[in-house]
């Protein structure tokens, strides 16, 4: 097992399935009268958020608290970062306070890698979204949700499943992490976006690309709509919001063309009326709210596997240590 979670591409099939299976068991904790496990008692987890977030930060916080870890929330707003403190000095401060894990979200791609490789902190580094690069726990919770709906058993991957990811791929760390992880799990990924919203070099990703949403709906087992990230757009990527939503938005008519078992996903936050209409977002086949629930279980699994035991390879020391 890896010691940091920086990229969905760092996970091999065994690691990914181990995380999903662990999450499957931990999902049951949410329905118990006492939603808490003593496993990470005495460990400190820092939520280091340089960028706004609702669900990811709350999800990590809930996950860490359900495992009895102490959680310190740090957001750049209102901290010394606004006085000009560097990432290094912030990290050294956290290290001095004894952080066992740092969950970092940063507006610059690669910040979590820098944090992990410079060894400013001894704790495990978990990437909670860096710039337009990666968001591995989101990919894990998406894969977990797909597996529960499309395969429905533990120990398996997503071999042969077709996943269509639609929208602002260019600015989406979710799309990149999903493409990598879903490929590892054997699924077939199609990215659908206007040419301006596909990143340079996408031809080297393990995916198929298309400009036509309607053509890729009929064989999709899951459709994932991405948010149009207006805050990252400094130029016109499409003529008008209305045209975008006509060509790349998911409405009831398009939903009807999906196979009957297909699910609709969205990593949130949604722009209702833009990439997804309100009726589709609230439709029975939409698993958007469930994704949030699953997010807590998946993040508990990641925290448990990274922090729960002694560091080192699992299984290797299965015996002889006692």
């Amino acid at each position: 097992m890896i010691t940091n979670l920086l990229s969905a591409g760092d996970l091999d099939r065994t690691d990914a399935i181990r995380i999903l299976d662990t999450a499957e068991e931990l999902l049951g904790v949410a329905s118990r009268p006492i939603k808490k496990l003593p496993t990470l008692r005495g460990r400190t987890v820092v939520n280091l958020f340089f960028e706004d977030s609702t669900r990811t930060r709350i999800s990590f916080e809930a996950a860490a608290k359900r495992l009895s870890a102490d959680v310190i929330n740090f957001s750049a707003k209102g901290s010394s970062v606004s006085k000009g403190e560097s990432l290094k000095d912030t990290a050294l401060t956290l290290q001095a306070m004894g952080a066992d894990a740092v969950i970092i979200r940063h507006h610059s791609s690669g910040a979590p890698h820098r944090l992990a490789q410079a060894r400013w902190t001894k704790g495990a580094v978990i990437n909670a979204g860096d710039g337009t690069h990666e968001h591995p726990t989101q990919a894990l919770l998406d894969a977990f949700t797909m597996r529960r709906h499309l395969v429905e058993s533990t120990g398996t991957d997503l071999a042969g499943k077709n996943v269509t990811i639609v929208g602002d791929v260019l600015h989406s760390r979710v799309a990149r992490s999903n493409a990598l992880l879903l490929h590892t799990l054997g699924a077939h990924v199609t990215l659908v976006a206007p040419p301006t919203l596909l990143p340079v070099g996408v031809e080297h990703w393990p995916v198929e690309t298309s400009y036509d949403l309607d053509a890729s709906l009929e064989k999709a087992d899951a459709v994932m709509m991405l948010r149009v990230q207006a805050e990252r757009m400094n130029a016109s990527y499409f003529p008008s919001a209305r045209e975008y939503s006509r060509r790349y938005g998911l409405d009831t008519a398009r939903l009807g063309r999906l196979p009957s078992h297909a699910i609709v996903m969205h990593p949130g936050p949604m722009n209702r009326g833009m990439e997804i209409t309100a009726d589709v977002a609230d439709h029975v086949r939409s698993v958007i709210v469930e994704q949030v629930t699953n997010g807590v279980a998946v993040r508990m699994a990641v925290l448990y596997l990274l922090l729960g035991g002694a560091s080192g390879e699992p299984e290797a020391s299965e015996e002889g240590t006692s």
Binding site: E25, P38, T321
Partner: protein, 202 residues
């Protein structure tokens, strides 16, 4: 399971066939008889099987719990199901080893006000049962908790005892007790190995 019990289990899978140094203490019939006796003892002690919840501790405890539930269903003329209680997250030696995979937890019934019978294969240090008791408190408040084990090999490290024992097996600390069950190992047998000699196969 305590840490040392786990090592035994690893051993069980490994030298499945190479048991030249192993001495069989219980064969298939002995195990079957012991489980039947335990079933009757549980029913006698508790009288009302409706208030019972059988929970096995993974992995072999779950197999034993299912077998006891089967026998109990026959005696009581109604279906009784056994559950499983994974104690991994409650172990006291988690930090000594890399994170382990979780086992399945399945509670067949609300445990509030019920008599919970925990079922495991080998009782050794008692640390597994300590962890199981912790896990139970977070699932509800049973009226009482009882413990049934196939083998009690002694060497307790905590003030814990079993209510129902298949066989008391006095052992020395260097010996390993191996339980093989049909569901996971292809045959039923309990054997003792002198660990000094079994090390060769590891």
């Amino acid at each position: 399971m305590s840490a040392s019990d786990d090592a035994e289990r690893a051993g069980t899978a490994r030298d499945h066939e190479s048991g030249d140094a192993a001495r069989t203490v219980l064969d298939e019939h002995d195990i079957s008889r012991a489980l039947t006796r335990i079933t009757h003892e549980i029913l006698e002690r508790n009288r009302d099987s409706a208030g019972l919840v059988l929970l096995g501790i993974p992995t072999r405890g779950v197999h034993l719990a299912r077998r006891i539930a089967e026998r109990m269903s026959e005696v009581e003329q109604r279906t009784i199901t056994a559950g499983a209680l994974d104690i991994t997250m409650y172990r006291d030696d988690l930090r000594l080893k890399p994170a382990r995979a979780l086992e399945h937890t399945e509670i067949p019934d609300d445990i509030d006000g019920k008599v919970v019978v925990l079922i495991d294969d080998v009782l050794f240090s008692g640390r597994t049962i300590r962890a199981a008791l912790d896990a139970l408190t977070e699932l509800g408040r049973p009226k009482a908790v009882q413990l049934a084990v196939l083998i009690d090999r002694g060497h307790r490290e905590l003030p814990i005892r079993a209510d129902f024992v298949g066989k008391n097996l006095p052992t020395s600390l260097v010996e390993k007790v191996k339980v093989r069950l049909n569901e996971s190992d292809g045959s039923d047998a309990v054997s003792i190995t002198d660990s000094g000699r079994s090390e060769v196969s590891s």
